[in-house]
């Protein structure tokens, strides 16, 4: 039957991903890339960040169009709530990264996805950022991600899919492992 023999792709171009992997394995210098963002303060806790250019495959690249992101704090904290909080953007990044990974790995494993939904919860103790207790960290003390996946695969295969997407996720790595951060004033 055509449905079974056709290669599934979930909208992911697996062949081009695998070709890129082979090409970059042969030329590791070309694998180095840089992601950028620029941010302007608007007022109060409201800021606007734009992403547009990045470098990859040894050349300057651009998105199809610039994307802007409003960040602010909720009214509850005496702000105007002009956008999501920066920490929510961290959840956005994690969700997007893991979900893209699931689609790619599923395509590579020939698993047809019908729906993928993730809910994320990051818990935080405000005593950290407010400087009340120096033993409490500023950031999330715990992040919980729950996936609901409808796919033509066994539960074990779906669990393996989710595990592999974490293993290959940039944002999962950024959050779970230390990263050197340099902040300068010019």
């Amino acid at each position: 039957m055509d449905m079974q023999t056709r290669t599934l792709n979930n909208g992911v171009n697996v062949e081009s991903l695998l070709a890129a992997r082979n090409a970059l394995a042969a030329a590791p210098e070309a694998a180095k890339c840089q992601w950028r963002a620029s941010c302007d303060w608007v007022s109060g806790t409201h800021a606007r960040t734009t992403v547009d250019g990045f470098s990859a495959l040894g050349a300057e690249q651009r998105h199809r169009s610039a994307f802007t992101f409003e960040t602010d704090h909720p009214e509850l904290f005496d702000s105007l709530d002009q956008g999501a909080t920066p920490v929510e953007y961290v959840l956005v990044g994690l969700a997007g990264c893991l979900t893209a990974g699931i689609a790619s790995v599923a395509a590579n494993r020939n698993i047809r996805l019908h729906s993928v939904r993730a809910t994320l919860e990051g818990s935080m103790d405000l005593q950290g950022i407010l400087g009340i207790d120096s033993d409490v960290r500023n950031g999330f003390d715990d992040i919980r991600v729950v996936f609901h996946i409808d796919a033509d695969a066994s539960r074990e295969d779906i669990e393996a899919l989710v595990a592999q997407s974490q293993k290959r996720s940039a944002v999962f790595d950024i959050i779970t492992n230390p990263t050197n951060v340099r902040v300068e004033v010019k």
Binding site: E156, A160, A163, Q166, N177, P178
Partner: protein, 429 residues
């Protein structure tokens, strides 16, 4: 077979030089002898040197005695299901060297090997050898691979590796951080914990494996399934397969399973992979839960494969029913940072892997990451061969019993190569 060409006897010629008189070098020696190929085995120390001097006291083979065999030689003792101690391994290999009358020259350290015309010059602590073929049998596990974070460990904390650790008594008093989630890391964490110390064990990706399953040793199953015989040219991603850490196994008389759950029951604290050390604080990855999930899933796939095989081979009536093990217990909030001094850590044991040493090899066959360029042990230079590397020709290549098939095939390749080149007695400028 050994031709002296130099007047002082300091430069000698032979067809092939095998470097290293461990089980691999000896297996190759036996196969070359069967083919009538003149050779010597140069050994920096004595036969089975690494087994004598570079292993910890309690180590036993991870493979049962029935599996210990070399070309023309096999275990004949009365405990086929036991696991050899290091002393027994040394006796086993020592006896093999005598039985096959291997031309071992002990106490000769190779200092460099380079190519000169169609020959190799093998320079040693006692003169030079010229030959047309060289077999690198110096071992895959010579130099400890220690992460850069080791340089940030405060100087008052002792650092050991699996090369120089001997037993818990050789560690300074105090708590211990063991780094590494494969067989060595888990074995050391267990014995150090049993010696009465607090042990923290940092684990990255790992391969859990039960010692026995459905009444048989796991090695019996891997052998029966053909997993150990899988060839390097049949595998999807051989580079990846060669990097897989050794499974969490121990060869103990009790045949206990060695896993993170058992270690946690003994009181070992398990953390994620050690990512760095900053201001005396060790930092651990927050990915422990996923690392364990990946490992549990991998084990589940292996057990399912075994169960299928048992079914297809009509074994099911004769052996215990399938079993699934409890998932690895992961603390709800595993440790992410540990102030080493404050928590009483007085020593760090790096069980983070070992790599071969090619510092003496002056032939351009080692890539920028220190990996030898070879196809199933046929190195990327004419007449140069390797033995005993992980998954070199087959998954079993780094096991003792894996040496036989590799030595037979590579010695045949070597013989064909020699037949195609001129013999060594022709003078070269």
């Amino acid at each position: 077979m050994i031709t002296r060409t130099g007047r002082q006897g300091s430069s000698r010629a032979t067809d092939a030089v095998i470097i290293g008189a461990g089980h691999c070098g000896l297996a190759m020696s036996r196969c070359l002898a069967e083919l009538g190929i003149g050779h010597v085995v140069l050994e920096r120390g004595e036969v089975a040197n690494a087994w004598r001097h570079e292993r910890w006291d309690s180590l036993r083979l991870l493979t049962p005695n029935w599996q210990s065999r070399l070309p023309g030689y096999a275990y004949t003792g009365n405990d086929p299901d036991g696991f050899m101690t290091m002393a027994e391994v040394i006796r086993f290999i020592d006896r093999y060297a005598r039985v096959i009358a291997a031309p071992v020259l002990p106490g000769i350290a190779v200092t460099s090997v380079f190519r000169s015309g169609n020959f190799y010059r093998v320079e040693t602590s006692q003169g030079c050898w010229r030959c047309r073929a060289v077999v690198i049998a110096t071992g895959a596990f010579s130099v400890p691979v220690v992460p850069a974070a080791s340089r940030e460990i405060p100087p008052e904390i002792a650092q050991l590796t699996t090369r120089n650790y001997r037993n818990p008594g050789s560690l300074p008093a105090g708590n211990v951080l063991v780094v590494g989630g494969s067989a060595s890391g888990l074995q050391l964490a267990e014995e150090i914990r049993r010696s009465g110390r607090d042990v923290t064990l940092a684990v990255g990706e790992h391969v859990p494996m039960p010692r026995t399953y459905r009444g048989r040793d796991i090695q019996w199953w891997l052998d029966a399934l053909g997993v150990l015989d899988e060839r390097y040219d049949e595998i999807d991603d051989i580079q990846r397969a060669r990097r897989v850490p050794s499974p969490q196994l121990a060869g103990s008389p009790e045949r206990n399973r060695l896993d993170l759950n058992r270690l946690q029951s003994l009181g070992v604290k398990v953390t994620g992979r050690l990512m760095g050390v900053c201001n005396g604080k060790a930092q651990f990855s927050g990915s422990l839960a996923n690392i364990c999930a990946l490992a549990d899933l991998k084990l589940g796939r292996l057990l399912a494969r075994i169960d299928n095989w048992a079914l297809e081979n009509s074994m099911t009536g004769d052996i215990p029913a399938p079993e699934r093990f409890a998932p690895t217990r992961v603390d709800g909030s595993p440790l992410l940072a540990l102030d080493l001094a404050k928590s009483g850590i007085r020593s760090v044991v790096w069980a983070t892997g070992l790599r071969p040493d090619y510092s003496w090899l002056r032939v351009p066959v080692v890539d920028s990451k220190g990996t030898l360029r070879h196809q199933g042990g046929v190195v990327d230079a004419p007449g140069l061969y390797a033995m005993g590397l992980p998954f070199m020709r087959r998954r079993k290549s780094s096991y003792i019993h894996g040496a036989e098939d590799d030595a037979r095939e590579l010695s045949a390749h070597l013989a064909t190569y020699l037949a195609s080149t001129r013999p060594c007695t022709v003078a070269v400028a």
